[in-house]
């Protein structure tokens, strides 16, 4: 009896640069499952696994329609869905009411946690680190190098705003003052905010944005303030940053998912083998496309799904299958090695990520490289 996984990513629209690598990963896994002829359950019964891949066009409406269709018409056991937070949040009530486990690839905390009750949503999971973790890594670095005042510039989107909110919470606890902060448009070509950064005299600028906007504002800051430290978040750690910022990117620091520097991971790192194999499979499948954290999230989400499906005995009804997967995700699969670290899922934590699993990297010679703690200065 075949299992079906419903996969929805934003392959077109504003989320396309995130959604396309995710879709490629889904295709890669689907092909691999065909070759392996599915998975084998605990009772040695073989189940083919089909992955149905859809594009929500970065639209919350389309995502909701597709989610309904996949749950009720296509009768999938698991939904791996949501590149962006908006569409993900629109799908949350549908997955919950449809009693189908959903693993999102978007970063907003409110996807897995109900902000009113602060409890985990029972049916929703995600393998995506949050800006809170990024901010914790940033705070560690800033304190280690003795910086107590920063300026924070963030892009005018939900992601950017979330980086700022996280920074306020975490930096506040770490006694780092945010002397000046402002948002900027992703489509801007000019950044008058830089003038005020200069006026405030911060020794470090923290930027909460993803490329290309992150690259543009980085260049603007670097042009006018050649000696200030520039600290990014984990969302900026992508080859696109270096490509679009060019030589100005030298010296930038940021937390980074392990998958992006798989080859540099030390041998004792538990994710090293997993990441190396993923990177080589991905690049072989896509013909050399650069690896990205989004591809990593998609792979983790599908990996969790398959590991959970492997715990299912044969002969369950669809409703029971979905419940069993949910229970497996909460209780049976942790600790599970992933592209970003070792995830420890539990009923109280549907993400299970530790911020210390972030690598701290810098841009040197046009490439990302790990910056070990003893070189922080």
């Amino acid at each position: 009896m075949p299992y079906r996984i419903g996969f929805i990513s934003s392959a077109t629209g504003p989320g396309a640069s995130l959604g396309i690598p995710e879709r490629d990963v889904a295709r890669m896994v689907r092909e691999r499952l065909v070759v392996q002829r599915g998975i084998i359950g605990p009772d040695r019964v073989r189940h083919p696994v089909d992955i149905l891949i859809f594009d929500d066009q970065s639209s919350a409406d389309v995502a909701a329609s597709l989610a309904r269709r996949l749950i009720h018409e296509e009768r999938v056991t698991i939904l791996v869905a949501g590149t962006l937070s908006g569409p993900s949040l629109a799908m949350v009530p549908i997955a919950t009411e449809g009693r189908t486990p959903m693993i999102s690839m978007a970063s907003a905390r409110s996807i897995i946690e109900d902000p009113a009750t602060k409890r985990m949503r029972p049916w929703i999971f995600k393998p995506v680190p949050e800006n809170l973790h990024s901010a914790q890594a940033q705070a560690d670095y800033l304190r280690a190098v003795g910086v107590r005042r920063v300026c924070h510039l963030y892009e005018n989107t939900a992601y950017g705003r979330d980086t700022f909110d996280s920074a306020q919470v975490i930096f506040g606890r770490a006694n780092i003052a945010i002397a000046y902060s402002d948002s900027f448009e992703r489509t801007a070509t000019e950044f008058p905010q830089v003038a005020r950064v200069r006026a405030s005299g911060c020794p470090a600028v923290v930027i909460g944005s993803i490329p290309p906007a992150a690259a543009l504002i980085h260049v603007a800051v670097r042009e006018r303030l050649p000696r200030v430290r520039i600290v990014h978040g984990h969302g900026a750690c992508s080859p696109d940053l270096i490509r679009t910022a060019g030589p100005a990117a030298e010296g930038a620091v940021m937390p980074c998912g392990k998958v992006l520097l798989a080859a540099e991971l030390p041998p004792e790192d538990p994710t090293r083998a997993f990441n190396l194999r993923f990177v080589s499979d991905y690049q072989r499948f896509t013909g050399g496309a650069p690896i990205s954290t989004f591809a990593g999230h998609a792979y983790d989400a599908l990996h969790w799904s398959l590991v959970a499906l492997r715990t299912l005995p044969d002969g369950l009804s669809l409703e029971r299958q979905r419940e069993a997967v949910r229970e497996a995700l909460e209780r049976k699969i942790a600790p599970i090695v992933g592209t970003h670290g070792v995830f420890r899922l539990s009923p109280e934590d549907h993400l299970g990520f530790d911020y210390r699993d972030f690598l701290w990297v810098t841009v040197k010679g046009g490439k990302f490289t790990i910056l070990p703690k003893d070189q922080w200065k």
Partner: protein, 338 residues
Amino acid sequence: MEVRTTWAHPVIRRQKRAGLGLWTGLVVLLIALILLGREHGFGPADFAQFAVDGLQAGAIYALVGLGFVVVYRVTGVINFAQGGFVMLGPMLTVTFLGQRTTAEALQLLLSILRAVLLTGLVGLLTYGIALRLRRTALPLTRIMITVGVYLILQGAALLIWGPRPQVLPAFTTLSMQDRLLVVGEVVVRAQTLWIWACAVTLLGLLAAFFEFTLLGKAMRACAINRTAARLVGIPADAMAALAFMLAALLGACAGIAVGPVTRPTFDMGLEIGLKGFVAAVMGGLVDIRGSVVGGLILGVVETLWAGVTRAGFRDVIAFLVLILLLLFRPLVPLSEEA
């Protein structure tokens, strides 16, 4: 290029007063923003920087606006595909350049020429396919058709180039890192000078074209009275097609000039197109000088506004200005024959 009439005419007098009110309003807004900026601790150097940045954006808006004006004057159509032309220019240049981030000057020049010409062809096609077929259609139908063309251009761009932003080398250094000129405390990017030079040159060429060449005068005739122009043997359809091509060329140049600064993407045309449209409306959709001045003012006001208030509201000012403009200039003659 306006038909001159006596200022004593009541309609013209009302229009003049409204126009005066509008400019006064803009000046007041500028002063308010400057005062607000002083409160935030901005000094003259910061304001100078805003002015420079604003004039850069404004020059682009002016160029894009010119495209709207040219098409509107000759055909009476508001060409929403203009944003698509602005996007095609740099994207095609990147492709012809082989997606390299450094290049020889000659290579860059040739790529730019090819991109501009190809975009001009697309402009011709736009007119040919979409707008010739429905002669009896009302102007708004034809506007909606241009909207359809824009959607096709953007969709095709996504298909061809994907969603990732492209990189165009700066013209001065022929690489990604541009040279900066520091004048006092004001930093001017070398590319900004290119943008201004491009705008001034194209403006001059356009003015000369309309004023001194037979073709240009024929187009002006079409703009003033299409039927009369046809009566004296001017092929109005050909003129309209030419107008579209001109607009495409202008748009492509604007997009290419600003390309190194902004990392061209498949969907960059929508916002630039709308801002350019606002600039054109500031010239009543028919006045080239007005639209250029309007574009520059829009750029400066927008940059100043974004610097002084929350950056997220940057786009609001353009559309608020648009609404106010439309309310105060309702009597600008429309080209009824389309």
